[in-house]
């Protein structure tokens, strides 16, 4: 199996978008030190990209595959109180890994949007999840290198770095042209130029 396909699968797993085939591919390659390292790098890179270096040490793939490896032992094996407890533990650890994965995934979603949270927005707002503080984060170094914020994904990271700013700008300007609320899209567009 090609290195690239594996890395794509890794990325898919990280995005919670892997199908079963990809998941199996990643799990079977997980003993490989290099793969594990790639996985860890992706996590860190992703965390950095989202300014959310919280749990870079979490190795979900290892946890899941270890759990699955245990489970692969035929059920005919010795039955005893410890055995069933063990199976319970396996189930629990898979659940934990999945939960941790989901949590990691959701934090990605949240991380991009941390802003000075307003204390009382009347009506609309339910109790808020307090995310990691990213206050006073204006003009962080990661912003300075462009929206892609680094060569997160291997290949030619330059491709996206070159195009995304232009895409974002074009979107913002076109929105400003069409917008009825003219000032808001303009302000969005201008804020992209401030880096």
């Amino acid at each position: 199996m090609s290195r690239e396909a594996l890395q794509e699968s890794l990325s898919a797993v990280m995005d919670n978008e892997a199908d079963e085939l990809e998941l199996r591919r990643v799990l079977s390659a997980c003993d490989d030190v290099e793969t594990r390292e790639t996985w860890a790098r992706y996590q860190i890179a992703r965390a950095v990209m989202h300014k959310d270096l919280l749990l870079p040490r979490l190795d979900i793939a290892a946890a899941v595959s270890a759990a699955l490896a245990d489970e692969a032992v035929p059920a005919k094996a010795t039955r005893g109180p410890w055995r069933s407890l063990g199976r319970l533990a396996v189930a629990a650890s898979v659940t934990l890994a999945v939960l941790a994965g989901v949590r990691l995934y959701n934090q990605d979603e949240i991380a991009g949007v941390e802003l000075a949270q307003q204390s009382n927005q009347p009506g609309l707002v339910a109790p808020q999840v307090k995310g990691p503080a990213v206050l006073a984060g204006y003009n962080e170094s990661s912003e300075a290198t462009g929206p892609m914020a680094n060569g997160v994904l291997q290949g030619q990271p330059g491709w996206h770095d070159q195009r995304l700013p232009g895409y974002l700008r074009q979107h913002a300007q076109q929105a400003a042209l069409k917008g009825t609320e003219s000032a808001l899209p303009y302000a969005r567009a201008a804020s992209l130029e401030n880096r």
């Binding site: 949240i110 802003l115 000075a116 009506g123 609309l124 974002l168 300007q173 609320e181 808001l184 969005r188």
Partner: protein, 319 residues
């Protein structure tokens, strides 16, 4: 007589809720008219994750013409001057090929249509820039768009403050006036562009716009979003033809960019910049691999799904 308070409550609920919805609709209609009818000048702030900026705006309605100038006050002097919604001059980097696209006329805010995708409600009063305001909330009816909270000036209907909120109620961006003057009409000198404001040349725009070779469509769109413009232009740096499509639901907007990869192996990415998400996905077509990039103020999952749903009309494509 326990039933009386309950009955009152029920009745008031019965009457109050539709009244609020209608009221919200009226306020949005006023908002739509205000910018076409009201002259004003003021200062506003814009804030999103990683960016905070302050701007001046001069807006003059005279003889049925709307002239507007916006100038950033901190950092670089970003500036734009517009006449009747047409950009006259811009500072900074303007993308060529945008100025004169067909049907690029601004679409008026249509509360009737918005009601299909958002719950409209007046949820309270506030005070912004020293002026009393009414708070109108637009809560999305599905997970494919964000919610707005608009604080509209009681006197004029102008938006004094606009918040964009995700499904968890987290603030994605803030637009807020700190000072607004609706009494005086801005004088000519304030509407004159600065020296760094580059005149937008529609002719050169047309030159870089090219005829679209392939037509694109999306197998899936979030409900309510319709195509509002479609352009193709040659990127001066890469010589690639980039197709772009813009969709909106009357309030939220996203763009789809399609660019040939010419055999380059590029990985898919996902980026979030405050309210704006950018999702890139590789798409295999008979003409070679393309990179599909969705950029817009919509949730990441929705953008992802749109990116995966783009197809050419020319032939069968496979993802």
């Amino acid at each position: 007589m326990r039933s009386i308070p309950l009955l009152t409550l029920l009745l008031s609920g019965w009457f109050v809720v539709p009244a609020h919805a209608d009221e919200a609709q009226d306020w949005l209609t006023r908002l739509g008219q205000a910018e076409q009818q009201q002259s004003f000048q003021g200062t506003f702030v814009y804030e999103r994750n990683g960016s905070f900026s302050t701007h001046n705006i001069w807006h003059r309605v005279q003889d049925g013409k709307v002239r507007e100038r916006i100038l950033q006050l901190d950092g670089s002097a970003q500036e734009v001057v517009r006449l009747d919604g047409r950009t006259q001059c811009v500072s900074g980097l303007l993308v060529a090929g945008l100025g004169d696209t067909p049907n690029s006329a601004a679409r008026a805010l249509d509360p009737q249509k918005l009601k299909n995708w958002y719950d409209l409600a007046v949820i309270g009063k506030s005070r912004v820039a020293g002026r009393p305001a009414v708070i109108v909330s637009l809560t999305p009816r599905d997970q494919h768009r964000y919610g707005f909270e608009l604080h509209l000036d009681k006197e004029t209907g102008l938006p004094l403050k606009s918040l964009l909120l995700n499904d968890k109620g987290q603030l994605l961006e803030r637009f807020q006036f700190t000072q607004l003057n609706t009494a005086d009409t801005p004088p000519d000198k304030d509407l004159q562009p600065g020296s760094d404001c580059k005149v937008v040349n529609l002719e050169s725009d047309k030159a870089s716009a090219v005829k679209a070779a392939q037509s694109w469509r999306s197998d899936w769109l979030p409900p309510g979003f319709v195509l509002t413009s479609s352009t193709a232009r040659k990127d001066p740096a890469t010589k690639n033809q980039v197709n772009s499509l813009m969709y909106d639901d009357g309030l939220a907007r996203f763009s789809v960019f399609l660019e040939p990869l010419n055999g380059e192996k590029i990985t898919d990415t996902r980026t979030q910049l405050g309210p704006t998400v950018a999702v890139s996905r590789r798409l295999t077509t008979p003409q070679g691999d393309m990179m599909v990039t969705v950029v817009g103020e919509i949730p990441a999952g929705t953008a992802e799904r749109i990116a995966l749903s783009m197809r050419t009309d020319t032939a069968t494509t496979q993802q």
